[in-house]
Subunit: 421 residues, 2 copies
């Protein structure tokens, strides 16, 4: 993908090879034998990653700060300290068998923007600030997007600090240890906000690749409902029990799922309906299943549509089906987040001006931007994920796509810096 | 259920209260808090049960013997030692949370027949022999029906003796210990055969109860095929992956099972098709399933129909379904066993003569009679299982049904004793 550089854009070209080098270097920190990364939140690897990032930042004279939940801020000063910063960022922590790009990309692309501005002697009035959110993945400590959720007040600080990993180590202890090992830096209060926030991230899905687009202009993060369904039949001997006497929970669950799928079928293919967990009891080949429990992950960008579909699912998951009793309960209802239309437009314009093939899309996964959007005008930029593979050591994005996305981030952040929001 | 006693039958009435008492006494050996029994093969409880049985037998002057795999024989002599015995029996071992009747019933009903003959001074030319098969349940040591399978040569003795329980104790060790604790008795060679073999057993299914019949005249043990099916899709993020890009192994497995069920649908409700094990990988609510494996338990009394249906299932479980790849393999193909028509008729006549409501049926479960049928003309008698519940501490059969079944066993064994077979 060739990046056009018309006079009209007025923004500098980023340094692609440097961005690629930084990815390679960061991928070695916690790098796994299978080409992935294991750099879970607040582990020595995570500390090492942040350390390296701070070295790059310090070499440029940027200032650093950290808030009580461990969100890390790197600021390139503007000419006016009284103005709120234009922000970008993502996370450095990974899944235990994670890939080289999930999260890291948004951090390194943000750093690349700051350095590009330096390289081209670009002066901004507003500060440009890079944030590294703490524990986005939630694999070592729950919940996911911990740092951004605490910053937004969605999760109380005390509860997050008290969360333990599988070995009984708390966030509080692990964070204190990390801070002690990082260079001294400013202590920031919780709740950082800015003039604008734009996060670059890999798509973690197959759409951009399939549609042959290099840039995803992300307009929203879809809402997520999670339901738990239970189907109760009656255990019976597989050899001695005729069909007419069976209350087979698996037969009923399958019929129910087929019915639900038909009910929620979406020709536009926007709604996501997934049964990912499906457990059969007692699970013996020779016993007619007495119980099945399964999960429904339901997502849609439109809050009303999502709620309406969720309610319809609850309605269908009740009463009797194939001689079995069905019940369901709500595990989670997270509403969709709409990004700032002006920033979304800025991202699209940047892609247009650079002559990149882009498409508008909704984020299927959740991101730290979800919590920033509550209090700072926000948007996101996606780059393709090969075969849509993510949360996997095989995760891959071509260098040229990473570079193109970082360029759009640079252009959009500079545009945001002078926008009235 | 009232038992008629017309002159025509010419056989004595059994002692119902004694049979009921014996059931109560045996149920205390390994009895569980929930009213069930835990008397697994070659445990101290199993030894205690056999010990009690031998006491009852010895008190009557019956002789006892044991073969190399621990099958126990109790013989009431006839007038002609040169004639092969008429045999009956079942097993005393139970599932870990088993019931009071599965197996025990056939043993105690057999003993009751022997004692009834004594009480009424009935003299037979042929010996009447009660056999207690070792380890029918297969819960402590595999495989199931171990004793009868070894006696039939279907499982090598050495392999059976070498089988270990979960704690590493072998059949060989546990059997030696049991034999040391039982009174001394004759060592019999493997491969006992007889003139005829009739086994009484609880149905372990709901049919007799639903059809309001007291006696099941069992004409066959249906065949059993076990298949393992694998459906391979591709793991994907539930939030980011549109339907059109999914290879959802659960969706494919459900479609496949629906197709298979439609294909094998049997209006006569004779064929049994059960998916009892169904495992989804990775089993996370937020990941589109990449793999499903499931079992198919398929049973039918007609060998050709079973084979034909099994082959059709293998045919349908191959190739591509809903963008996923399907494959299947045969785990087990056990052919149906047809019982001896003359003995089956003898059982039916006994039920008719006693004025009992009976029905012809095929055994859905497997039994020791399966292996006897290979080399001795055999048949079975079923009595109702309340709600079809079995392999469960709630297993129940009314005393009057147990008594009626034992009476039919007595009548049929006496008939067999004088039949040309």
């Amino acid at each position: 993908m060739e990046i056009h550089n018309p006079q009209a854009t007025g923004t500098p070209l980023i340094n692609g090879p440097r961005l690629s080098d930084r990815h390679r270097e960061m991928a070695r920190i916690g790098g796994t034998a299978n080409g992935g990364v294991n750099r879970q939140a607040l582990t020595p690897e995570d500390t090492q990653g942040r350390h390296r990032l701070l070295e790059w930042a310090t070499a440029r004279g940027y200032t650093a700060g950290i808030d009580p939940i461990g969100n890390l801020f790197i600021r390139r000063a503007g000419t006016r300290a009284d103005l709120s910063p234009v922000m970008t960022g993502s996370h450095l922590d990974s899944q235990p068998t994670g890939g080289k790009y999930d999260g890291v990309y948004g951090v390194l692309a943000g750093l690349e923007v700051l350095e590009t501005l330096d390289d081209h002697n670009v002066v901004t009035e507003r500060p440009i600030e890079l944030v590294v959110w703490m524990n986005e993945e939630g694999s070592r400590f729950g919940p996911v997007t911990m740092g951004s959720a605490v910053a937004a007040g969605a999760v109380p600080l005390e509860r997050a600090l008290a969360a333990n990993d599988a070995k009984g180590v708390s966030v509080s202890e692990a964070l204190a240890r990390q801070i002690a090992e990082l260079p001294p830096m400013e202590r920031r209060p919780l709740g950082a906000t800015g003039h604008a926030y734009i996060e670059a991230h890999i798509e973690q899905g197959p759409v951009l690749e399939q549609e042959a687009r290099g840039i995803g202009v992300v307009s929203a993060i879809q809402g997520l409902h999670l339901y738990q369904v239970e189907v109760r039949g009656f255990e019976a001997h597989a050899g001695t029990t005729p069909s007419r006497h069976r209350k087979d929970a698996l037969v009923a669950a399958n019929a129910l799922i087929a019915k639900l799928r038909a009910e929620v079928a979406d020709p536009a293919d926007v709604l996501r309906f997934t049964v990912g967990r499906f457990e059969v009891s007692p699970g013996s080949p020779h016993i007619v299943p007495g119980k099945v429990t399964f999960s429904i992950d339901l997502r849609h960008p439109d809050p009303e549509h999502l709620l309406c579909t969720g309610d319809r699912i609850l309605e269908l998951c009740s009463g009797e089906i194939e001689h079995c009793m069905v019940s369901a309960n709500v595990v989670l209802r997270s509403t969709p987040v709409q990004f700032d239309a002006r920033l979304v437009t800025a991202v699209r314009h940047a892609a247009e001006h650079r002559g990149l093939r882009y498409m508008s899309m909704v984020s299927g996964a959740t991101h730290d931007a979800k919590y920033m959007a509550d209090r700072t005008p926000s948007a996101m930029i996606f780059v393709p994920s090969e075969k849509g593979i993510s949360h996997n050591e095989l995760e891959h994005t071509d260098d040229e796509d990473l570079i193109a996305g970082a360029q759009i981030l640079c252009d959009a952040l500079l545009a945001a810096a002078t926008m009235e929001l």
